[in-house]
Amino acid sequence: MDDLYREMILEHFKNPRHKGLISPADIDYAEDNPVCGDHLHLTIQLDDNNIVQNVGWDGEGCAISQASASMLYEGLIGKSLEEIRIIDKQAILELLGIDLSAARIKCALLSLKVLKAGAYGLTTWPGDED
């Protein structure tokens, strides 16, 4: 458990990066995790080459879901939609660097799910795609 709430996660949870929606946004998508009521809303501005210029997000939820959003979204700036597309479940787990029980894995993956649904219309949970 000490691992689960390791410092970096708590730090991002308490001081989330890029929190606050931006407007106008090229990508604007929100979703809930119905199991626990976590909520994430993501807005992204792109340049003409589909490179992420700016990111803003809002949300409510547990430390895992919110830290995951803060860490993932912070890293999007400067990346192209093509580069972002390859981010997968494993990448998120490595980003967080913790072992998650089955019950908590969706908390960690909601950020990626919202990103993929907003950017590419992919609505399945990361890792559940065929």
């Binding site: 626990c36 976590d38 909520h39 939820g61 547990c62």
Partner: protein
């Protein structure tokens, strides 16, 4: 050792529940505080079902053989025990379902579909479990009636003034929970049922959180329907009860079609079986129904009034200790005499899931989330809450451990 004023011999009761005697991890004995989600089962309930499978497993109502006769006797005997437990006038008014959700859906899909239409109003409440919101929303789309919700006050009670103002001849049904699974509020259902009847409406009560904890008399309540689940009252999963007044059940169309619910079938049409079997299509959960009968015996032997007194004492102690923890906001009534054995809380800066995770590390099982009551959490502008819920086997020492663990949560999140 902390003590509370309880009529129960809790240590003796705990011996009846095998699951309670384990360590979740070394040095961390299980503290089970998730009883509003599901209760644990006494050994005799488990053995009763085992006995059915080992000695007289057979289908009910059909076979002309010893095992089937024994199974039918036990299955129907359990129904009579349940009838007595809720003081229904007849065992024909006691329908086996899969649980509370199915009971409410049964009323929606049979009585509701036959009796509701444009211009009609169904009144529910803003504190309902999704099981008593969604079936009516689905049916309203099909039939075009309106749903109104009784608002909930800041301190967790129904706004009765608003309710009385909603009542007129358009109201056909008032459907609400007896006890809130989040706030714990014991709603004034007797007053609400009488008010519904005064405008010619029927009343459906979701008793999922009341039958396990309070003495229930459906005739005294005068409700038209009353639904509850076995698994929250020491019985197995997969079975529940819908009580309905015979006058309604007799005129209602059947729910599901199939075996056991018919008297006679021809290729041109069918004739429905008598109550209660008209609503029990297909092979039922036989072992589970028999297990529920045993759970009812167990609860009756201890006495529902004693169980309630214990719960008021332990909930009162928990609310008192929780109020001492800085940063904890409790949802629902503060007086334990006015609520079920539930303490739902929000801890500033720590999400309910994180609270549950850290408590789990200390062997404590609670529920975190919206507890299938999203509109209620929207009402209080919280995404989720952490809920500790108690039953007859919980001790004040366990409450103490809960409080200690909450301080660990505060440490981790520096709340």
């Amino acid at each position: 050792m902390t003590t509370i004023d309880t009529p129960l011999d809790v240590e003796a009761i705990r011996k009846d529940f095998p699951v309670l005697h384990q360590e979740v991890r070394p040095g961390m004995p299980l503290i089970y505080l998730d009883n509003a989600a599901t209760s644990q089962k006494p050994l005799r309930v488990i053995e009763k079902m085992n006995d059915y499978y080992c000695r007289y497993n057979a289908n009910v109502h059909r076979g002309i053989h010893k095992l089937s006769e024994d199974a039918t006797l036990a299955y129907e005997g359990a129904r009579k025990k349940i009838q007595k437990f809720i003081n229904a006038g007849s065992s024909r008014e006691v329908i086996y379902t899969r649980g509370t959700t199915e009971g409410i859906n049964l009323v929606a899909y049979t009585w509701g579909r036959a009796n509701l239409g444009p211009g009609d109003v169904v009144i529910s409440t803003a504190m309902e479990h999704h099981a008593n919101i969604v079936p009516w929303q689905i049916l309203a789309q099909e039939k075009g009636f309106a749903i109104k919700y009784i608002p909930v006050t800041e301190d967790g009670f129904l706004d009765m003034e608003s309710f009385h103002a909603m009542l007129d001849e358009h109201v056909k049904l008032v459907t609400l929970m007896h006890v809130s699974n989040v706030l714990g509020t014991i709603n004034p259902i007797q007053e609400i049922i009488a008010a519904a009847h005064s405008v010619g409406a029927l009343a459906l009560i979701d008793g999922a959180q009341s039958v396990p904890h309070l003495s229930i008399d459906v005739q005294e309540l005068d409700c038209d329907f009353f639904a509850f689940s076995s698994h929250k009252m020491l019985g197995p999963t997969g079975v529940g009860i819908l009580y309905g007044k015979k006058e309604h059940l007799e005129t209602m169309p059947p729910f599901m079609g199939g075996g056991d619910m018919i008297k006679r079938v021809t290729l041109d049409g069918s004739q429905w079986n008598d109550l209660p079997w008209k609503f029990e299509a297909g092979t039922p959960s036989i072992a589970e129904a028999i297990g529920l009968g045993e759970a009812v015996d167990y609860l009756s032997e201890i006495g529902m009034d004693n169980i309630h007194a214990h719960e008021v004492a332990i909930t009162g102690y928990a609310l008192e200790r929780l109020a001492e923890v800085p940063g904890v906001r409790l949802l629902g009534p503060a007086d334990p005499a006015l609520k079920g054995a539930v303490a739902a809380m929000v801890l500033e800066d720590a999400h309910a899931h994180d609270i549950a995770e850290i408590l789990n590390h200390h062997g404590i099982a609670i529920r975190a989330g919206h507890h299938c009551a999203m509109p209620l959490h929207q009402r209080y502008e919280v995404a989720a809450s952490a809920r500790a819920s108690f039953y007859l086997y919980n001790t004040p020492g366990e409450v103490d451990r809960l409080i200690e663990a909450l301080y660990k949560v505060k440490e981790t999140f520096a709340v």
